[in-house]
């Protein structure tokens, strides 16, 4: 093993882990203030629950030798996951790097069901989803014995595994849970757009680890993936801004943040496979479908609240297909795409996309129905009106503290009139 490869993969893993808090801010800024913490927590808990489950079982199901459709159990409880080399880096580090992908993929789904889903139901859902949907699909695409892998599907850093997969699950979840109270009657405005910009900035930063790290070493492939990850979103941002200016002479900040994410999603499967100039084209092209999908979505009854489908689902599909168009063996050493005389690649990409859609949709739907049979998926209408921060977490994001009466644990008197309890305390100091 070479220290340079280890150095880069340590860095890359840290960068990808940071993406989940970044997502918490990207999403958290877009909701109303009374749901800010709930939205952010949906990302943060993934760091815990998905992270631990990945180590205990998910990694084995995804990336240990098994069949074409799912991995085996040989690495359950990290058995055999040591500091020995796996490729250029310690096996243990490879496991951790892959784990950060599972975490953020699960967290991505939350964007579709914020401001209404019960927190505990969400916890159960993403835990099971990672094991039953994410792990298998990851196996298909990235394991040496995965069927899509062997079929030659290209997915450099997770266009299908991560983004299409999460986007489809988000679509299903939004359908199953139904729209928010007053959806399409009232306008729900983002309570803190700077947070969304902060999230977008940190996501871009982290994504360099996501794509650049997928080369699994500090090599020229990493350099290519890194640079395309810088150029593609830049192009998406340019096109998106121009579309905004043309449409109503105002370049929106939420739009800019969205554009950055769309560009990052689109380049993900292509990062190490296309030339830098192709990356600029790919990023620019990818802006269009997502831009109009957002305009269309709000006319529908589908309350995919933070547009996971338009940004990740659609962006991922466009990226996966364009990978089949722009791939260049001259740059990647792997395979050519349509433009370079290999139309077949485009069909393989299409098949991979469809397979992911079908599987993810089916299992995600089943999971939600099963969980819904055991516990309510949605918060009560009254809780939704009050806000999920208070109802699900017993906190406010921005508390003033006016008229907050301290209840001393040892003298808790829920029945007694509040001011009185305050008086009691008045007595003791």
């Amino acid at each position: 093993m070479n220290q340079g490869d280890i150095a880069w993969m340590l860095t890359a893993t840290a960068l990808v882990l940071l993406m989940t808090p970044a997502l918490a801010f990207f999403y958290g800024g877009l909701v109303r203030g009374k749901n800010a913490l709930n939205t952010m927590m949906m990302s943060f808990v993934a760091l815990g629950f998905v992270g631990v489950l990945w180590a205990l079982a998910g990694y084995s199901l995804a990336l240990s030798p098994g069949g074409p459709f799912v991995g085996g159990l040989s690495h359950v409880l990290l058995r055999g996951v040591t500091l020995e080399a796996s490729g250029a880096i310690p096996h243990l580090l490879f496991m951790a790097f892959q784990g950060t992908f599972a975490i953020i993929t699960a967290a991505l789904i939350s964007g579709a069901i914020v401001e209404r889903m019960r927190f505990s139901a969400y916890l159960v859902f993403i835990s099971l989803w990672m094991l039953t949907v994410y792990a298998p699909v990851a196996h298909w695409v990235w394991a040496a014995d995965g069927w899509l892998y062997n079929w030659g599907a290209l997915d450099f850093a997770g266009g299908t595994v991560v983004h299409i997969n999460a986007g489809v699950a988000a679509f299903v979840a939004a359908l199953v849970l139904g729209p928010r109270k007053d959806y399409a009657r009232q306008a729900f405005l983002p309570h803190n757009v700077p947070f969304t910009l902060l999230g977008a900035g940190l996501l871009w930063f982290g994504w360099f680890g996501f794509n650049g790290g997928s080369a699994l070493g500090a090599n020229t492939s990493a350099a290519l993936a890194f640079v395309t990850t810088m150029l593609a979103p830049a192009a998406t941002l340019v096109v998106w801004t121009l579309l905004d200016l043309v449409r109503n002479r105002k370049a929106t900040a939420v739009g800019a943040a969205t554009a950055i994410v769309v560009g990052l999603v689109a380049i993900t499967p292509a990062a190490g496979h296309v030339s830098p100039i192709s990356a600029i084209l790919l990023g620019g092209i990818a802006a269009v479908p997502s831009y109009y999908a957002l305009l269309f979505r709000v006319r529908t009854r589908l309350d995919d609240s933070l547009d996971v489908v338009a940004a990740h689902g659609l962006g991922g599909m466009v990226g996966a297909l364009l990978t089949g168009v722009f791939s260049e063996k001259a740059w990647s050493g792997v395979a050519d795409g349509l433009l370079f005389g290999n139309p077949g690649q485009l069909w393989i990409q299409t098949a991979a996309v469809l397979a992911t859609i079908v599987y993810s949709a089916a299992v995600s739907f089943t999971l939600l129905k099963v969980i819904g049979a055991v516990m309510p998926l949605r918060a009560l209408a009254s809780e939704e009106a009050l806000g999920l921060d208070v109802s699900q977490h017993g906190e406010e994001a921005y508390a003033e503290g006016d008229g907050a009466i301290l209840v001393l644990p040892d003298r808790e008197t829920p029945t007694a009139p509040a001011f009185a309890s305050a008086t009691a305390q008045g007595g003791r100091s």
Binding site: A385, L386, V390, E395, E396, A399, G403, P409, E412
Partner: protein, 121 residues
């Protein structure tokens, strides 16, 4: 001239605005306030500390109207702000001695009739 002061639930604000519009009441000023009354307080926890929240979010509307407009205004609010559970809020009607429209210096009646809307009565 009267000033109608109403305290309503934030989630009912849009409904109240609609209803007021239907009643041809257009000029108004709102303020985000917090109220205490008969509602059950909510409990919150921060680290070890448990707190009872005495105050709940409300919105206050101040509406200056000419006398014969008081009743429709109050009716509209009573209708749109009502949910039936404790915490719906109150309406106060206060006497007003004089009203001025800053833009024109117009007074009373004339002052509270928004531009482009025919004065009533």
């Amino acid at each position: 001239m009267k000033l109608v002061v109403a305290i309503v639930r934030p989630e009912r604000l849009n409904a109240v605005l609609e209803e007021l519009y239907k009643a041809d009441v257009q000029g108004l000023t709102i303020t985000r306030v917090q109220g205490h009354g008969g509602e059950r307080e909510q409990v919150e926890t921060y680290r070890g500390m448990t707190v009872k929240m005495e105050l709940s979010e409300k919105v206050r509307l101040d509406i200056g109207v000419s006398n014969h407009f008081v009743e429709p205004t109050v009716k509209a609010i009573l209708k749109a702000a009502h949910t039936g559970s404790v915490g719906d809020g109150k309406i106060f009607v206060l006497p007003v001695e004089k009203v001025y429209r800053i833009r024109t210096g117009e007074q009373d009646e004339a002052a509270v009739t928004p531009v482009g809307v025919p004065a009533h009565g």
